[in-house]
Symmetry: C2
Subunit: 521 residues, 2 copies
């Protein structure tokens, strides 16, 4: 398939007239052809109008038809073959194996939501049958089902060019929920975005889904992105990116005449807590494991371990020595874009220059666009004094906070902002202390992990990839796993409807064969 640099507005393909930009080869910083044209407000307006019109038709499709559409999308992405992998590797600097794994995950997500559709329990159908003889008042027949919230704007993430981009988790869950999607491609991987976008566009056509079910736009400025969030036909936003952009979108969405939910995944340092008995028993081993988790994918995961909380004691020196040794031997790694690399260097330099922070180790140096991982150390007192030390440095940088006792550790935890994950490294003898910590950890994160790290986010029913602000803008939700579909649903009641007017999901015939909760009381 040819990459043309065009917008996909519903079933149409057209050149965006609003500026021009190129994808960039991550390892060299060189332009990749062709150029991409940014969308105009007219293009956006048309995409929104199509999505708005498509909404009623699209959400009325059967669960089976929508499942087949998601599966077709998955298949079309696979059919792109090496062209997709090659372009994605070039644009992102990610290793080929990682990109292939991410493709598998993307396909898996689309198929997971196909199975969620066939299962039907996400509709949460509840039926209270009429009680005409009830006193003092009869009860009418009342039936509840979830329906799609409306057209959704999705912003592709820089760090997951496939799994959280054009046909990634946000798009898959919104489409499954019955919501048309307009994706704003991340400018870090426009070619990858177009290829995947064309795969979705083809699936829309092949499955006979309405024109406007999917659009893909490019934006060379921020104006079109902001206009997408502000457009009254858009009813929810899915976003993964910086805290600055995420909170700006929250503001725009909150100030609309009709405010809408923004699901922004923004910032997390994913604290790792090392408790005394685990540290004493296997400090060196944990040090090595930490460096593996830290440097995975150049540290460019939302769940990268950026903060280590340790109570000083037996094993602390073993842990530090092993981590430092391991990191010193690690290779430098190409980052996703030159600007992400620049931000990383600035963040690391700031840490290194901080009066209360000691540089423990750096990985090997590399080429112009490659980042040296960093291991830093500070004290609980210093950490509590300077809120800046809590900020995420996106990439393979981690700050070890040395706490003199349990009380200091607890104070640091209290002080933390919301997180996606918190990990605990413990042995049996640490359980009692861990048990007392867990209620606090539950308040601070969406996922708690024992003897592991947050990296490697399993796509399954029990996954929560979310957490208190600023980890995400809405801690009631997850962006990974089957529960992600609930972000794009709202419940609606039908009271005293004749059978002829009920949708299949809530009808007695139950042609879609969905779980229906009957309450005779």
């Amino acid at each position: 398939m040819m990459i043309t640099g065009e917008l996909l507005i519903g079933n149409e393909v057209r050149r965006g007239p609003n500026g021009e930009f190129w994808g960039v080869e991550a390892t060299t910083g060189k332009r990749l052809e062709p150029s991409f044209g940014g969308a105009s407000l007219r293009d956006l307006d048309q995409a929104c109008a199509l999505a708005d019109t498509a909404f009623d038709t699209y959400r009325a499709t059967s669960l089976e038809d929508r499942a087949v559409f998601l599966e077709k999308t998955a298949q079309n992405i696979l059919l792109l073959g090496d062209e997709l992998i090659d372009r994605c590797v070039a644009e992102t600097g990610l290793l080929r194996g990682r990109v292939e794994g991410e493709r598998a995950r993307t396909i898996g997500q689309l198929r997971l939501f196909a199975s969620v559709l066939r299962d039907g329990s996400f509709l949460d159908v509840r039926i209270n049958k009429a009680l005409p003889d009830r006193t003092p008042l009869p009860r009418p027949d009342i039936r509840l089902s979830n329906i799609g919230i409306g057209p959704v704007g999705v912003f592709g993430a820089s760090n997951f060019p496939l799994a959280f981009s054009v046909a990634g988790g946000d798009t898959a869950s919104a489409l499954a929920a019955g919501c048309p999607v307009i994706v704003k491609a991340h400018s870090a991987h426009p070619g990858t975005s177009e290829l995947v976008g064309r795969a979705v566009q083809a699936a829309v056509r092949e499955c006979g889904m309405p024109n406007g079910t999917f659009s893909l736009i490019f934006d060379s400025t921020r104006a079109i992105s902001q206009a997408l969030v502000a457009d009254l036909r858009i009813k929810a936003i899915g976003f993964t990116g910086s805290r600055g952009a995420g909170t700006a979108f929250m503001q725009i969405a909150g100030n609309r005449p009709e405010p809408i939910p923004v699901y922004a995944e923004m910032s997390s340092v994913n604290p790792v807590i090392l408790l005394p008995n685990a540290l004493s028993a296997r400090g060196a081993e944990i040090g090595k494991q930490l460096v593996s988790a830290l440097t995975l994918g150049a540290g460019q995961f939302c769940t990268n371990p950026g903060l280590i909380l340790v109570i000083d004691g037996d094993g602390y020196q073993d842990f530090m020595k092993a981590a430092a040794a391991s990191l010193s031997e690690a290779a430098a790694a190409t980052m996703l874009t030159p600007s992400i690399h620049k931000s990383y260097c600035a963040g690391v330099d700031q840490l290194a220059a901080h009066a209360a922070v000691k540089t423990i180790a750096r990985s090997l140096s590399g080429g112009e666009h490659q980042a040296q991982a960093g291991l830093f150390e500070t004290t609980a007192d210093a950490f509590l004094e300077d809120k800046e030390l809590q900020k995420e440095v996106f990439g393979a940088s981690t700050l070890i906070v040395q706490c003199k006792d349990q009380e200091a550790l607890r104070a640091v935890l209290q002080h933390l902002e919301g997180q996606l994950t918190i990990s605990l490294h413990i042995n049996g003898a640490d359980y009692e202390f861990a048990r007392r910590l867990i209620p606090l950890l539950e308040r601070k994160a969406g996922r708690l992990i024992v003897n592991g790290f947050g990296t490697g986010v399993e796509v399954c029913h029990a996954m929560v990839h979310g957490g208190p602000f600023p980890a995400t803008s809405d801690m009631r939700t997850t962006s990974v796993g089957s529960l992600a579909i609930s972000r794009f649903l709202r419940p609606i009641s039908y009271q005293a409807f004749p059978a002829e007017l009920l949708s299949p999901a809530v009808s007695d015939k139950n042609d879609w064969n969905v779980p229906q909760l009957f309450d005779p009381s």
Copy 2:
């Protein structure tokens, strides 16, 4: 039980030092003793501190213990007997039968959430067991459960002094979710609020729930209310009231360092659509039914029918004549407070003075604090031209919009803001047109009703009392029915936890006997 005018801060009782106000007898406008003291910022701070501390202990209580606590609360309210009913009737001007009915509903809600707790499915427990042999990577054990979101601030509603006030739907669902509650009593019924508050406070003590599980404050200004929404220990807000206050709270909540959800139920005119065949067959009957629904409880329901959309044709004159005749004979009714009465009169006067609005009928006139219901008529063109005509007039006022054809009706519907309910009056011959309208109605409201009115909100599993903005601030939720609990929950994942550290809900032993979804794949 004696009404003292004091604040209930956790298990304590104390006089608020911040100003003084009185309950008012609705029928006479006279002060009711004693006076109530407004809370200071210090009182609020203490209530928040207690709630924050209570949270971890309270949410760790077993589902059975929490169910018993809700049932005890219900029982304590019943034990208040006639004292509660008398005071409530005096403060609100509502008829005795209505107040007794509302007490039954309040008790019923508390018991419903006790049953929701015993059922346990609200926890949405999902278990993905470890797959150690999976390739290329093993899967760790991952378990998901909902947990309480944190301490909740609840604002009592003026129009439901029991069912949406101190121990009403918001409080019951938040307490069920495991969240401590701080209620700001509505100043329209402070004595009723204190009586019920003392019943809750006693239940906390009797059931051994932690100090701070519940507090009740009075606010004679707006400062304490705003401070409650802004307090960082509060994690969600439940509110029923005006659009002005609701949107102000949304702004405060959105501008906190950590934004929180506000569940505000604000404004709805609950359109009633009369389709041609129903109108022709039973126009006069619908006219009479409309007046009954309109004047119920002096029209002071969130779901009061404030807008009637009719296609001119056979039966329209019958409908109008019957409605006018019926309303002309209706008695004037005491409104909840003098200021609500004043707002109602201003709203009705504005409608009556509008150049494009015709006054069709008014009910009988009454005493100083009594409202005359009003029936007004305008055209679709005039309605579309002036957004003011869409505004809710809280009370028994309704505007009939005459549409010349189906197209005009559809244009009016498109133009509408979000609603709690939309009702359709139809006969079999109207089904085809109704079927085409329903997708549009679904976008506009949280509950659709056939051949009835929105009044009479059934408390059951299938109820949605919610809807798009400005009906509510969050159309993904309901404030009535068992699903209301989900507003105060968030999901959390536990990865690779040893059995010793898992909470009962997600453990294999499943001591709480909750539904657990296992996924072996």
